[in-house]
Symmetry: C2
Subunit: 343 residues, 2 copies
DNA sequence: CTGAAAGCGCTTACAG
DNA sequence: CTGAAAGCGCTTACAG
């Protein structure tokens, strides 16, 4: 066993100055209540506390107040590897947490089993609120709803099927698709292709379709490129495969809206190998504005995911929630970052 | 204010079963001490606790025991953006933390000012130990040493100038350089070039030099490629710039050891544009084994940084430290991952 | 074999 | 204007 670090306590100061614990506590916390301290005494206490570098033991305060001073973050692995989406989320949260003097308890989960373990650990009894981010599986969703019903303030960051009655804060994936497509159209594209993922409620695809409609451009179904294996694949090779197939099929297109930056780079590589000029013949835009965009021969345009902003708002809303103000769901608007590939 | 969630307490169980708080506490925690409970009573208590899904309030236990049940992680942003090094570190830590039932308090710092703020917040008084990772600036180093002297268990993960008297756990950068170089030599390279960074104590460069020596290969100083702007630059463009210059200077080389995967990919792109075949004419190996390696037309060989392993060991050592066992510094051995670019 | 009691360090309603 | 006292929920040395 380690000897406990010795720290200054309220009692130490009280004894030294010949006043009561109560008074020291009140003066230092600033919660005077009905108490009216003599100004000189107050000053003396504050001065001594500062000299001794006193800090209340957060455990004791929390125990007394019934607060923990900490929030939990449970994340399903998010973003393409290399996208830095998760890092951005954390940084955004971290800043906001510091402002509120809160601490973060972090937990990863890879599947609903792990999530259940979390719920069965005491961890969630050690936080004032919870943020759950990543993709929601139906089992985890009901677990979250249970925690919420038990009175734990919970906020999620899900794109699909958010838990019912729980505020959900995410970037606007629909607008990502729409803005990216509108950007290419604005640059002169008439037949931008779109990299589909295999799910029927793909928000970005909706955005693509609406952008086309608003520009009065017909949507040739063959512009909706599929074939990225079974399931969702945001990686490099998916971009290669899909665009290779499209070219081999003789598809005519003058733009590509990709659902990740890696897909976009994969596609660009194929185009270059076949001497198709980017951006002159085909303009390309990715998604996420990840480091990949500038880590390539041709600088890739992209639409942001604003994860840092999302992180900050998640924390702020949760803090308000803990203080009793029921939060609203929010959709954060992405931005198009124009670079060489769509100029 | 939020109504506090109501939870089951020891007292509730005690009253219900007509026994004392003490007994319930002892039975549940398993710390019987001199106490010898009647087996049937013990069973009754455990059964009821389980039914009620009782979990001790960690705050109270911690307060009583003088432990916090949490450790702090302060990180300087690490790794090239997109390298996922930080994520790997976190995942490694997270797993180990869960095993020990510990929680993580996360804090980023970008400069020593922020680090000082951290030290001035009460946060470090709410953890049983601290892990500091990233690059050490001299000011932060002395702050860390101070925390350590005050009795806070601290472990660092620094590559250069670790704080004195504090255990330091990192991957072996020297071996990264050496193993990567040896790999290329084994594949037949006689004149592998090395991407230098501008610091006189570059461990990877030492590794490169030693690998060459052990293979009895002469080191032509012009193989040590500099010119990546002022300071360290691990990014894509640095690789392009350096290798372009080398080729323009007519340098003869048959391999490249890069200090990041992005640098390597940048270099490969230049080589391909000039119709120099990778790996036939030039074998290339990167560093970090980041997602970039497989997100490229040619799959990039790389040498790992083992951050997940580092993360796990940091936590394990810190836990031991908290329990009174002074930890040792450790160097984690990296592994070469062979892919297309050096085959 | 079991429980009463003190205590971890703070906070706050209440009494003086 | 200030302090004694109770209490947050648990733990443990000690008494019975």
């Amino acid at each position: 066993m380690n000897k406990p670090r010795k720290t200054v306590k309220i009692k130490d100061i009280a004894i030294e100055l010949g006043v009561s614990n109560s008074l020291v506590s009140k003066v230092i916390s600033g919660n005077l209540g009905t108490t009216k301290v003599r100004p000189d005494l107050q000053e003396k206490i504050l001065k001594r506390a500062k000299e001794l570098d006193f800090r209340p033991n957060p455990l004791s305060s929390a125990l007394k107040r019934g607060r923990f001073g900490a929030i939990g973050l449970i994340v399903h692995p998010i973003g393409v590897p290399g996208s830095e989406l998760f890092n951005k989320l954390l940084i955004g949260m971290s800043k906001s947490l510091n402002q509120h003097g809160l601490r973060l308890w972090l937990q990863f989960y890879e599947d609903s089993k792990q999530f259940m373990e979390f719920c069965n650990q005491e961890i969630y009894r050690s936080v004032d609120g919870l943020i759950v981010a990543g993709s929601a599986q139906s089992e985890t969703r009901s677990l979250i709803e249970n925690l919420h019903k038990e009175g734990l303030p919970v906020i999620t960051s899900f794109h699909h099927d958010p838990a019912s009655g729980i505020a959900n804060i995410v970037y606007n994936a629909y607008l990502q698709g729409k803005l990216a497509t509108a950007h290419l159209i604005e640059k002169g594209c008439k037949r931008p292709a779109f990299f589909c993922i295999r799910r029927d409620d793909d928000l970005r695809q909706q955005g693509y379709l609406d952008a086309m409609k608003e520009a009065n451009l017909p949507v040739d179904p063959s512009l909706l490129l599929e074939g990225m294996g079974s399931g969702i694949d945001y990686r490099f090779l998916a971009g290669r495969t899909v665009i290779t197939k499209a070219l081999d099929n003789g598809l005519q297109f003058d733009g590509i809206v990709a659902q990740s930056d890696q897909q976009a780079i994969g596609a660009i590589n194929v185009l270059r190998e076949r001497n198709i000029s980017v951006p002159n013949q085909v303009r390309v835009i990715g998604t996420d504005d990840s480091p990949t965009c500038t880590a390539s021969t041709i600088q890739l345009s992209s639409v942001t995911a604003e994860l840092q902003e999302v992180g900050g708002r998640l924390v702020n809303s949760l803090v308000q929630y803990i203080d009793g103000k029921k939060p609203e769901s929010q959709l954060i608007t992405p931005t198009v970052i124009e670079r060489e590939s769509s100029r």
